[in-house]
């Protein structure tokens, strides 16, 4: 058992599950989407990106790309959230919530691809 691999896989899967957990629920209902879960999803996604740094293989490059996509989507979602609550003066209404959740849905897709790549990589290992 390789400790590095465990940590690596743990964070990638965790990023997916947190993202999924946040995404679950009605798309425009703020009650169904927890802000702490969203925060955890962003943090874990950023850590995943850094963990994927410096891998020179083709698969490594693909994984880094999916991670960057997830980060981008989540950070934009966070910006919308912050804007809706702090700046717009309207508060978290249904339209803002649905754009945040749909962006996190995009990040969810990227995270799924990332996990698929992880599975492919381990399937290629002949040990």
């Amino acid at each position: 058992m390789n400790k590095d691999k465990v940590i690596f896989a743990f964070f990638i899967v965790l990023a997916l599950t947190l993202n999924f957990g946040f995404f679950l629920g009605d798309i425009d209902n703020p009650e169904h989407h927890n802000v702490f879960e969203f925060f955890a999803a962003i943090t874990v996604s950023l850590i995943c990106t850094v963990l994927k740094f410096g891998d020179r293989t083709h698969l490594g490059a693909l994984m880094l790309a999916t991670s960057l996509v997830a980060d981008l989507q989540l950070v934009i979602a966070a910006c919308i959230w912050g804007y809706a609550v702090q700046v717009s003066g309207v508060g978290m209404d249904a339209s803002n919530m649905s754009s945040v959740v749909s962006l996190s849905g995009g990040a969810l897709l990227a995270n799924i691809i990332s996990v698929i790549l992880l599975v492919v990589e381990s399937a290629m290992l002949r040990r």
Binding site: V35, T43, I47, F53, R56, Q86
Partner: protein, 563 residues
């Protein structure tokens, strides 16, 4: 490029993760810890404000406690977070600075910028491997002729030395092992503008691998290599290396020429050496008995060369047993008067101090000169740093392998016709002929450097002449030697050789008719070369030289003249 980026990212992995974790824990703490607003109600900071606060706290800017004054619990958490974030930042910045200072990182950066500057070269250039004595002389001379050069050497102090040499053209240089093909590739081995590769390191094995790599990757490219052993020479020649220079053999030939044909020796010297010997240095009494001290590589090459020219020889060597077949030999180093007098220094015309030890060599010639003041002295210099003492040793010839190789290679680079000329001269002509030639050279250049260059009459090198041929004009060799500023004046140059379809005409007359495809070797002042390029390239200048007519010869005016 990619290597550096990957290295940077890989090293920064831990600091970045620590930074993310510390920041997120701090933010989370501020969101969870209850605060108090200005009315005394319980208040929870949201993520937006928590991140705002942590951002300016972590970067030690500190705008104060916002949006309301903190409770003691929040202050406690802020204190912890300050230390945690500052340490995380220090660790991250420290790691990246340490990475920048690492020698490996510097090497990668240098390699990268070297590769990029070689790639950008859009003029023909030579790749010189090895920047020792030979390499530095060649690079300096090539740069003086405005030829671009790329340098590789495995010693970093030599590359530093190159930067100190203040050459007039930028010379990309890299400290790396030239025997590795990927290094050679970065240095432009496959670059379309690379016109020649020179393997000048002091290791035969390295030179061999450079030559092989070059010949395999680009079979048509010129490869020049130095060598110090016969097996390597044979090996290099076996796959078509264009020029292989063995310093000992080259110098032995040069010296034996001095012994049996002093004027030919001078011609050779003037053509090869930028700082040629004065005319008055001809030694009349070179025929007779010579003493060779040291029967190593140099001694053996010299013995062979002298033997061919029927000179009487005595060999002085420490180990007398290894060469029993030599007719005259004395055992000893040659530094003591006893050994030298046994070798017959009193009635010898010359002595060659050719041992691999510089101090011994100097001692030999000093002792010999004390015993026989008229003796010719030839001394071998092994270490370049001894230049000063050798310069003041008043020896007649100083044999320094590095310079010999450099001069030989430079002659080849000037024009491949130079070696052909020398060979032809040695084969077909005698010393009287050489005496006339050297007088002519001397009257043309005097004390200045005798440069030599060549023209091939073709579209590429002499477009003006080809155009004149198309017009049906007859051209004579003399047109090259007229001054384009004033056709009544001659340039300081004269033709050495004309090669037409393999037939060689030595010192051709200036009234000879030219034909397309002729190769002409010319010697003279470097200034004359530049003037001559005018004539060869500009049709108007050519017309002025041929007819004295300074009119414009554009296509239109030519058509008008015809009608």
């Amino acid at each position: 490029m990619n290597n550096i980026l990957y290295l940077l990212l890989r090293r920064l992995r831990t600091p970045l993760i620590i930074l993310i974790v510390v920041y997120s824990i701090s933010v989370l703490g501020f969101v969870l810890i209850p605060g108090e607003d200005d009315q005394g109600n319980v208040y929870h900071m949201d993520f937006f404000h928590a991140f705002y606060f942590v951002s300016f706290m972590g970067s030690t800017i500190g705008f104060g406690e916002i949006p309301y004054a903190f409770t003691p619990a929040q202050r406690m958490w802020a204190m912890l977070s300050i230390y945690a974030t500052v340490i995380a930042w220090l660790y991250g910045i420290g790691t990246s600075l340490a990475l920048l200072q690492e020698p490996m990182f510097g090497r990668m950066l240098r390699r990268r910028s070297f590769k990029a500057s070689v790639k950008r070269l859009n003029e023909p250039f030579y790749l010189v491997c090895g920047y020792g004595v030979t390499g530095s002389v060649i690079v300096r001379q090539l740069v003086r002729r405005d030829v671009r050069v790329v340098v590789l050497d495995h010693k970093s102090d030599r590359i530093d030395g190159l930067e100190m040499d203040e050459l007039s053209l930028p010379v990309p240089a890299l400290c790396a092992d030239a025997a590795l093909p990927d290094v050679l590739d970065d240095a432009g081995l496959q670059h379309p503008n690379c016109i020649g590769v020179m393997a000048l390191t002091d290791m035969d094995q390295t030179n061999l691998s450079i030559a092989i790599a070059s010949k395999l990757l680009c079979p048509d490219r010129m490869v020049i290599s130095r060598t110090e052993s016969d097996t390597t020479t044979a090996n290099l020649n076996s796959f078509g290396t264009d020029l292989v220079v063995d310093p000992f053999k080259t110098y032995a030939q040069y010296l034996s020429l001095a012994a049996h044909a002093p004027y030919m020796h001078l011609v050779y010297d003037w053509i090869h050496n930028p700082f040629h010997r004065p005319l008055s240095s001809v030694y009349q009494t070179t025929k007779g008995r010579w003493i060779i001290c040291g029967h190593g590589r140099f001694g053996r090459a010299l013995y062979k060369a002298f033997d061919e020219s029927d000179v009487d020889l005595t060999v002085v060597d420490l180990d007398g047993s290894k060469n029993k077949d030599l007719p005259h030999q004395v055992t000893g180093v040659g530094t003591e008067a006893v050994t030298l007098s046994e070798a017959g220094v009193m009635d010898a015309v010359g002595i060659v101090a050719g041992t691999p030890n510089d101090a011994d060599n100097l001692s030999i010639i000093m002792t010999a000169r004390e015993m026989n003041p008229k003796i010719l002295t030839v001394v071998r210099q092994n270490i370049h740093a001894n230049k000063l003492v050798y310069h003041n040793s008043r020896a007649d010839f100083i044999m320094e392998p590095g310079r010999i190789i450099a001069n030989r290679i430079l002659a080849h680079v000037k024009s491949p016709l130079v070696p052909v000329f020398i060979e032809e001269m040695l084969k077909k002509h005698n010393d009287v002929w050489a005496h006339t030639l050297i007088n002519r050279m001397s009257s043309v250049v005097g004390e200045n450097e005798l440069d030599s260059w060549a023209f091939t009459i073709n579209e590429e090198e002499t477009p003006a002449l080809m155009e004149a041929f198309e017009q049906g004009e007859e051209l004579k060799l003399s047109l090259f030697f007229k001054n384009p500023h004033n056709r009544n004046r001659n340039l300081h140059a004269f033709p050495l050789m004309l090669r037409r379809e393999g037939n060689i005409d030595m010192l051709p007359g200036e009234l000879d008719q030219l034909q397309p495809g002729d190769e002409i070797l010319i010697c003279g002042l470097n200034k004359a070369n530049r003037r001559m390029q005018w004539t060869a390239n500009n049709y108007n200048v050519l017309q002025y030289i041929l007819t004295g007519n300074d009119a414009s010869n554009s296509l239109l005016s030519r058509l008008l003249q015809k009608t």
